[in-house]
């Protein structure tokens, strides 16, 4: 964290304007987790079509009568996110392969916990119909109940359980 990012309020206004532009032009908000879902659905649909047809989660999106699930708005949007973040990181001199971790965690531990966190986020986003971007942020912008409830649930749980995961992130000054 030696590099100073953009002023957060300015970044917030810019992010809000990007979201506003998206709603104004396309009538929908931004998202992220939907792309992961498309990848999974496409992979299962290609590898095991009968299995996909038997499960309503896949069958809603893949199989006869459906377009390729990868030809989805959010897949293209997330491809754009990847490009945009790369260009930003390039400009700021932040391109560097490495693992960022708390002072008390090994690299292997960090990667395991990151994957576990990703798995929880992926599953939770299916249940809540969207993640921090698609459900919480975009939902709050259009004042939806789902947006505010999801936001409160994510951050409320985060604050409530942060104490238990402090070993992953904070230096252990209390220990001797």
């Amino acid at each position: 964290m030696n590099d100073r990012p953009m002023n957060p309020y300015l970044a917030g206004v810019l992010l809000g304007l990007v979201l506003l532009l998206t709603v104004f032009v396309t009538g929908r908000g931004l998202g992220a987790s939907g792309a992961t879902k498309s990848v999974v659905v496409a992979a299962v649909g290609a590898a095991a079509p009968e299995h996909a047809a038997a499960n309503p989660f896949y069958a809603k999106l893949v199989g006869p009568g459906h377009e390729n699930p990868l030809k989805a708005w959010l897949v293209f949007e997330v491809a754009g996110v990847l490009l945009g973040a790369f260009v930003s990181g390039l400009g700021a001199g932040r391109l560097k392969v490495g693992t960022e971790r708390g002072p008390r965690v090994s690299v292997r531990g960090r990667l395991l916990f990151a994957a576990a966190g990703g798995a929880l986020f992926g599953a939770g986003a299916q249940l809540a119909r969207g993640c921090t971007s698609g459900a919480a942020l975009s939902g709050m912008a259009v004042l939806s109940v789902a947006g505010f409830v999801t936001m409160l649930a994510i951050f409320g749980t985060g604050f409530a359980f942060a104490w238990f995961t402090r070993g992953l992130w904070l230096p252990g000054k209390a220990k001797r």
Partner: protein, 397 residues
């Protein structure tokens, strides 16, 4: 008027738009420093509140902007996607995501950003999220009932609280500013000089907060577009910039019976009234929805005269004026409201007025009455046309 999907922007072109707005999204997220997991989770420990600042500011900015665009008539709020609520699944899913945030240090969008600049932990997070979605999908049939429970539809918070959207957004902006002020104090207490807020230009931020409150207050105070237009056309001395003429019941009856293809009857009456006294060939439009997008192609035909029929002449005239204000022309309204039509055309009796024309008028009205009844009967036999529906944007994750 936005949104431009699906009318102006096709589904294919929309994918290009997705790539472009995704680029901007990713660029801003990365510029905000969201490619660092330790900065992101700082919000939960108080040493770095960047997430709170960026996220809350973005939500308020977009909400205020959407209200302003709608008040200016540039964005159709009925057409945009509002993510539907499944209350308990949203709470449970949010709680699971909160735990995922603590363990993983990212959310899906920020993990994509961090992976893009080479963070291996973010790639692990993305791999894990694929597994998480797969596990969810495989187990889905077991709890599909819960996943679809407590459905509230596209519910809005201001409606649930019983306040206007503008007031709610103003309160939200005030809550954001309060959270930023308190958060800054906490952050400096926890992290001291290392806290990002210790380097903030204090005066500029106070001025920005005041500006935000002013803009949110403006958004709250602006009447919505329709209320503004109704007030404008109801004001004394209002003159429409295209001729809007009253049409007598006799002319309306004659032109309907004549099959005049340069006439379109726009019926604003309620369903019961329409069923009892149908007007053949009319398009029925809900009285409070004359400005809806779904009728635009009806009103946009310039060579066809649109005659508005309503329970009272005033309602019909106001609707016609509203349509002229929003850019349509060649409009008329039924003089005297529908009761005048019912009294003169649909009820047998000697016509008022010049006695020497009375027999001719009475004969015309008798024939018109019979012809209208016949047309209505044929239309009923043919079945009612499917109701028009506004195209709605599909969205969501």
């Amino acid at each position: 008027m936005g949104p431009f999907v699906p009318d102006l922007i096709t589904d294919q072109l929309n994918l290009v738009v997705a790539l472009a707005v995704g680029f901007l999204f990713g660029f801003v997220l990365e510029q905000a420093g969201f490619s660092s997991s330790r900065r992101l989770v700082g919000v939960f420990y108080g040493y770095d509140l960047t997430v709170l600042r960026v996220f809350f500011t973005a939500a308020v900015t977009a909400a205020v902007g959407i209200l302003l665009l709608a008040a200016g008539g540039l964005l159709d709020l009925k057409a945009i996607f509002v993510n539907p609520t499944w209350l308990w699944p949203a709470i449970a899913g949010g709680a699971i995501m909160g735990l995922g945030f603590l363990l993983g240090g990212f959310c899906p969008g920020t993990s994509v950003c961090a992976a893009a600049i080479g963070k291996v932990d973010a790639m692990a997070f993305l791999g894990g999220s694929v597994l998480g979605v797969f596990a969810y999908a495989e187990l889905f049939p077991r709890f599909a009932g819960f996943a679809d429970s407590s459905a509230l539809g596209p519910a809005l918070v201001p409606d649930a609280l019983g306040i206007s959207a503008g007031l709610f957004v103003l309160l939200l902006a005030a809550a954001a500013i309060a959270a930023f002020a308190v958060g800054g104090i906490v952050e400096r207490k926890v992290a001291g000089a290392a806290a990002p807020s210790s380097a903030f230009p204090r005066r500029l931020h106070v001025a920005s907060a005041a500006l935000l409150l002013a803009v949110a207050g403006l958004a709250a105070a602006l009447p919505d577009r329709k209320a503004r237009l109704v007030a404008k056309v109801s004001a004394p001395g209002y003159a429409p910039h295209h001729l809007v003429r009253p049409m007598s019941p006799d002319e309306l009856a004659f032109r309907i019976v004549d099959g005049d293809h340069r006439l379109r009857v726009v019926d604003l009456r309620g369903e019961a009234a329409r069923a009892a006294r149908p007007l053949p060939g009319a398009v029925s439009v809900p009285a409070d929805d004359v400005l809806g997008r779904e009728w635009r192609d009806v009103f946009a035909r310039r060579m066809v005269q649109k005659v508005v029929v309503a329970p009272t002449e005033e309602e019909a005239r106001t609707a016609a004026f509203l349509l002229v204000e929003t850019g349509f022309e060649n409009l008329a309204y039924l003089a005297g409201g529908f009761p005048a039509f019912e009294r003169t055309i649909l009820t047998p009796g000697a016509p008022a007025g010049e006695p020497r024309f009375a027999p001719v008028v009475e004969r015309f009205r008798t024939e018109a009455r019979a012809a209208l009844a016949e047309r209505a009967r044929l239309e009923k036999e043919a079945g009612t046309p499917a109701p028009r529906k506004a195209k709605k944007v599909q969205g969501g994750c």
